[in-house]
């Protein structure tokens, strides 16, 4: 028995509905279509044509489904679409070249033949692109879904956004911060898998001390996550406040303290990785790296803290 047009129409609607409502809608739809067909036949239309006309009048099943579901039929709506595209494009432009260069360099040092380097790098870039697109889309999708209910909440004038004041943190700063932090997080994890060196058994020699994985690297990743949160928070507030300045200082000094602690205490870098550069009695690359890292960590923290204070003070006069 071949499926009638009605069967096909009802199927087209029912398959897109939640299981629980499917049967009921299907039964009602069948009765409705049959009623319409009967009415047309009574009016003098031949049966076959009547069915076609009734279904045509009912229209595209997709529209009917959209009506029944009564929820957005898109992942990311107009509110967030442009922001998502902008962020994704920026991430790709920033992250892909860095990863490509790192991968090529790593393989060159590791002595991989050119063909292998090309293949591995392309493969890495493709999977990275897919990951970036997927995870950012997921975040925006969540924002899209949560927005629905948020919008229904009572709106008060307090919800109004503050117009950017002179010297307020621009959107591009936030995006640049987030992009940089994502790269940093990727580097923290990635150094375990692509360090440019492997031992005699082919195992990768990570750049950072393997012992850090127990809590050191999670801590650093937490700091990165907190910094991302701070960048978004700052951008949403559209101005530096005393709270932003304090949190900024706290985060910067916390990160620096963490790094200095690792460098001076349990060790941040993997001595084995540095041993690959050859040993020299006069110059110990690990000691130099430790020193530079500690100085840089403290320097950046101080600069970042002062930067926050300066930006906070500078924007004040702009606001009448």
């Amino acid at each position: 028995m071949t499926a009638t047009l009605t069967d096909r129409y009802v199927y087209a609607v029912a398959r897109s509905l939640p299981e629980a409502r499917r049967d009921d809608v299907e039964r009602e739809l069948r009765a409705t279509i049959a009623d319409d067909v009967d009415a047309r036949v009574d009016g003098g239309t031949p049966t076959a044509e009547a069915e076609r006309a009734a279904l045509t009048a009912l229209g595209d099943p997709a529209r009917l489904v959209a009506g029944y579901l009564d929820r957005p039929l898109h992942l990311i709506g107009p509110t967030y679409y442009l922001a998502w595209v902008r962020l994704l494009r920026l991430l790709l432009v920033v992250v892909l070249p860095i990863v490509a260069a790192t991968s090529v360099l790593g393989h060159l040092i590791g002595g991989t033949p050119p063909g292998g380097i090309f293949g591995a790098t392309i493969g890495l870039l493709i999977s990275l692109t897919v990951h970036l697109a997927f995870w950012t889309a997921l975040v925006f999708w969540l924002m899209e879904r949560t927005k629905q209910s948020a919008n229904l909440d009572a709106w008060t004038v307090d919800d109004l956004p503050t117009p950017p004041v002179k010297g307020a943190p621009p959107f591009s700063d936030m995006i640049a911060s987030v992009a940089f932090l994502v790269v940093a997080a990727a580097a923290l994890v990635g150094q375990q898998f692509w360090s440019g060196f492997s031992d005699d058994e082919g195992n990768v020699i990570p750049v950072l001390a393997p012992g850090l994985w127990t809590w050191g690297i999670p801590m650093l990743l937490a700091v990165v996550a907190a910094e991302i949160g701070f960048a978004v928070w700052l951008w949403k507030a559209a101005r530096w406040t005393a709270a932003h300045v304090l949190v900024n200082i706290g985060l910067a000094l916390g990160a620096a303290a963490l790094i200095v602690f690792f460098v001076t205490g349990p060790g941040l870098y993997n001595p084995e990785w540095f041993a690959q550069f050859g040993s020299d009695d006069e110059i110990d690359p690990l000691r130099i790296a430790n020193f530079i890292t500690a100085v840089a960590a403290v320097g950046i923290a101080v600069w970042d803290s002062v930067d926050g204070v300066v930006k906070f003070l500078r924007q004040k006069p702009g606001r009448g």
């Binding site: 009921d24 809608v25 039964r27 009602e28 739809l29 009765a31 409705t32 049959a34 009623d35 319409d36 009415a39 009048a57 009912l58 229209g59 595209d60 529209r63 009917l64 009506g67 029944y68 009564d70």
Partner: protein
């Protein structure tokens, strides 16, 4: 009627279908009969709008439904609930108020 007119008319009529359905279904009825009745009464509404609307009103408690299997063709009958009748009364009152206001606004135009 040009496209712009059609868009404005559609805008103006949005919501009237809800009120009309709530009023008609004070006597229990099923989807197709309601569509037919509304069309004959001059409400231009398609099944793709009306059938999902009935379910939405039902989920809001403004309509109640029941399957009637007495006929050879089982049909889902909808009836306006007490809450639905109360809403219809308020909507209709507002409609009358709008009609009066519109009448005043039109003044010598009519």
């Amino acid at each position: 009627m040009n496209e712009k007119d059609a868009a404005h008319l559609q805008e103006l009529r949005r919501g009237t279908v809800v009120l009309a359905s709530l009023l008609v279904l004070r006597t229990p009825g099923y989807g197709y009969a309601l569509l037919d009745q509304l069309e004959r009464a001059g409400f231009e509404v398609g099944g793709d709008t009306l059938y999902p609307l009935l379910r939405r009103l039902e989920s809001q408690g403004l309509l109640v439904s029941e399957w009637n299997t007495d006929d050879a063709r089982p049909r889902k009958f909808y009836r306006t609930s007490d809450e639905g009748v109360a809403l219809a009364t308020r909507l209709a009152a507002d409609w009358d108020r709008l009609t009066a206001s519109l009448h005043d606004l039109r003044g010598d135009l009519s």
